[in-house]
Amino acid sequence: MRDGDAMEPVFSVVVPLYNTPQDLLTEMIGSVQGQTFSDWELVLVDDASPDGTTAVRAQAFVEADPRIRLIPLEVNRGIAEATNVGLGLARGTFIALLDHDDLLAETALEEVHTAIADGVDVDYVYTDEDKIGEDGVHYDTFLKPDWSPERLLGQMYTSHLSVFRRSLLDTMRPFDTKYNGSQDHELVLRITERARSIVHVPRPLYHWRAVEGSTALSGSEKSYAWDAGVAAVKDTLVRRGIDGKAMRGPAAGIYYVKRAPIAPRRVSIVIVCTGSERGVELEPVFRDLQKTSYGRRSAILVVGSTAQLAEAASTLGRRWARVRPVVVDEDASDIARRNIGILTADTEIVLAVDGRAHLGDPRVLAELLMPLNESDVALAGGRLLDHRGKTILHAGYRYAWDLSRHPYRGAPKESLGRIGALISNREVSAVCTAFAAVRRASFIEVGGFNGSLDGAAADLDLGAKLRGAGGRIVTVSRAEVSLADLGAADAEITDVERALLVERWGPPGRDPFTA
């Protein structure tokens, strides 16, 4: 584990201090001293606290425990610079960041150490966290997703506890004061671009103390941090060569990344007439499509039996001239039709639209397609609302058999979701393909939909295959359409389907992205 120097501890826990109340200082240091893993040093940096006592009280701890060091600054430099001083003097192989009034769980360092030892070339580790009130009660546990780059652009979700490999940090600019308030988000955005392996420990090992003035109580307590975060995300887009803009999202600490729209010529729209549908029911969705640039300029394929297509042609009239009909046998299964539709398309990206969908806002197609600007995003799914457009039917799958596979189902569409999960784009295990955009090459590479599955089972299997091939699957918060119901995606997953899913992907347990 060590870099070869026998004197280096495994962990340096770096804590900037500023007017730290005695009791909080004692508890914070106590939580480090009480760690089950003992190979650490604690680096306290007193940022010239004006109270005159913080450094004195911290010094008492230094004198009692040789693992604790105090660096008193003569001039106040702000939290980012003060932390940088600590980072520069830290000797550990890994650096853990701790705020002066927060607490580490007793096994925090041990569990992080285990995760690093079990992994390969782990450069960044983050854990779950919770809040601790003034009464000592823990609440608001944040069970975080596994590594989710899209979500990180929209929200500093990794937060505490963050642990970095020091040798990687040494090659980079540390905390940048230009982003004070969101300096940690900015650093994590940069370091995760270079980290060889990123590990999430799914246990709440950091306790964030909720006090007046801290972001634990309310993001709006530090609104300047929000603007700093926008700047951090904006500069990240520039650094990564992503054509897009960053702006404030719908709530404090949430960011909206508006990427350049995907050109219509790169997209085919595929609408499948399922076995029971009549082709005539396509009129509303075509009406909505025509309001969008994709509806006017992308290829549109309609898959159906001869009778269904004839009926649709008759109803749609002149609109049918834009359509490339794909004829299938009348008894072709819905899954086979979807496979045929995507195979027949000859563009890089295929946008699958349920013929019953009400698109509403014409911008939803562009929003849905935007994440596919990233070459490793294989599938993007929209948010499905009920027929009134008021409650959520689907916002990304959890890998589960029962209807809990649609988390947030029934929530009002304005809901923020757990810690903002519904108001930023995020990675998920799978999406309902009633309204989704897939990278056609990725779809074909993994064999498309499995022919013996249907509905949610087929979607879950496709999601797992795409992720297994290295693709990311993203649910897009601003791409909302209404549906009367989810159809086959709501049907029970049969025993036969479960057996196949279990054989390939194991039984449901902890979903990597949705608790």
Binding site: V446, G447, F449, N450, G468, R504, G509
Partner: protein, 115 residues
């Protein structure tokens, strides 16, 4: 031509099916290997370690279930708030409220009237 097209479609679908089967088999194999490795590592250590692994899994499961319950409670609270808001709105917009409000507004303007 139709026959050729159909043949091509059939071939492409068959290729897709084979790719799916390969992907699925590979996934099943990797999962089986991971399970075997996990079983071997447990066998190599003592009973306490195996119990530790089991308990950690239970804890993880309980945390996830707890989180789900918290979510459902939040959803129920949302629903309750919406219902209350709907009730309040119905009352405030009712004729009774509007008439009463107009009367009490007039009373407040009288000298010595209610606040």
């Amino acid at each position: 031509m139709t026959t050729d097209t159909t043949d091509v479609d059939a071939l492409r679908l068959e290729l897709l099916r084979l790719r799916d089967e390969t992907t699925g088999l590979r996934a099943a194999l990797e999962r089986a290997e991971a399970e075997r490795d996990k079983a071997q590592s447990i066998t190599a250590t003592d009973e306490t370690a195996a119990e530790n692994v089991r308990l950690r899994a239970d804890l993880e499961d309980a945390a996830a279930r707890n989180h789900t319950l918290e979510l459902r409670m939040e959803e129920a609270n949302h629903e309750r708030e919406r219902s209350l808001e709907a009730l309040r709105s119905e009352y405030v917009n009712s004729r009774t409220w509007r008439v009463g409000s107009a009367i009490t507004a007039g009373l407040r303007r009288l000298p010595g009237g209610t606040r």
